[in-house]
Symmetry: C2
Subunit: 173 residues, 2 copies
């Protein structure tokens, strides 16, 4: 009986981590689909009057995902040139990178993350992320890598909700 | 060594479930804070021109949380009178319930859920939700209660992103 419980717990851990990863991937895919829906110019529109442009939000999501690489101890950032998309408002950017560049970087950062994620064990996911010290982690075991991913998945959902408000004028041919 | 791994897995399961619950609760709290920020009338504004009113979205989030009660096998819905806030657009409502009523129901549904959640074991969280048959669950073990909560947490984040776009006119005294 005890053995069965133990077996169940091991299976549970694997199952939950898998689910968190599926949830993360599905939000990435939803962002990708959104940015493949219209012609590139459409994403220069604001999601609502006076709010962020959709293209800016893509830059912001790339920068957020890219920052996961060092935070999860995987490698240095791929696109440090985009890190000012975290923490700065859209209005501070006179020009945004071209959509083709943003879309390419979005794909690259996500495939790099997926590649690393596919090789991470439960122990690694439950280990501390690189912004918390060993001593602090001892007291706050929730500051692990999996929790970072849960938070970032919600962050993607947050911006997806906003992106889906974008109004694109019908093109009259 | 094997025993240590087993112990770690049991602890991992508990830790992850706790984290998913904290993430869920924090999104509920963020919604609550948002609806306590302005005078009630402000929430009758649309979050963006031609889009849902904030008060409608609160009704939608209450209906979504209320539907968790039967879906997770906890009890029948508390507010079936609000279930048409799921699946129907804001534009189909001539009048919305008063904000005081919505805010009260939001608190009640969330405290009811928290109360049930605090007594659920890992086994219960990893068990099938009520909309999946035993046979299907055998093939699709991800259709468990915890996964429903992960999905609903992302759903709340999605609408929070939209709510935070609400523009409230400054009251000039």
């Amino acid at each position: 009986m005890e053995n069965q419980t133990i077996k169940a717990d091991t299976a549970f851990t694997q199952q939950i981590i898998k689910q968190v990863l599926v949830s993360w991937t599905s939000r990435n895919t939803a962002v990708t689909s959104f940015f493949n829906k219209y012609a590139d110019d459409a994403y220069l529109n604001e999601i609502a009057p006076g709010r962020n442009r959709a293209a800016f939000l893509l830059g912001h999501l790339i920068a957020t995902n890219d920052a996961l690489l060092p935070l999860l101890g995987l490698r240095e950032k791929l696109f440090p040139e985009l890190e000012n998309f975290s923490g700065n408002p859209d209005k501070s950017f006179a020009n945004l990178p071209a959509m083709t560049e943003l879309k390419q970087k979005w794909e690259t950062v996500n495939s790099t993350l997926s590649d690393h994620f596919s090789r991470m064990s439960a122990e690694e996911w439950m280990d501390r992320h690189t912004a918390v010290s060993e001593a602090d982690f001892e007291l706050e075991p929730q500051r692990n890598k999996l929790n970072v991913l849960i938070g970032r998945t919600n962050h993607q959902s947050y911006h997806l909700g906003q992106l889906n408000l974008l109004k694109v004028k019908e093109v009259v041919v």
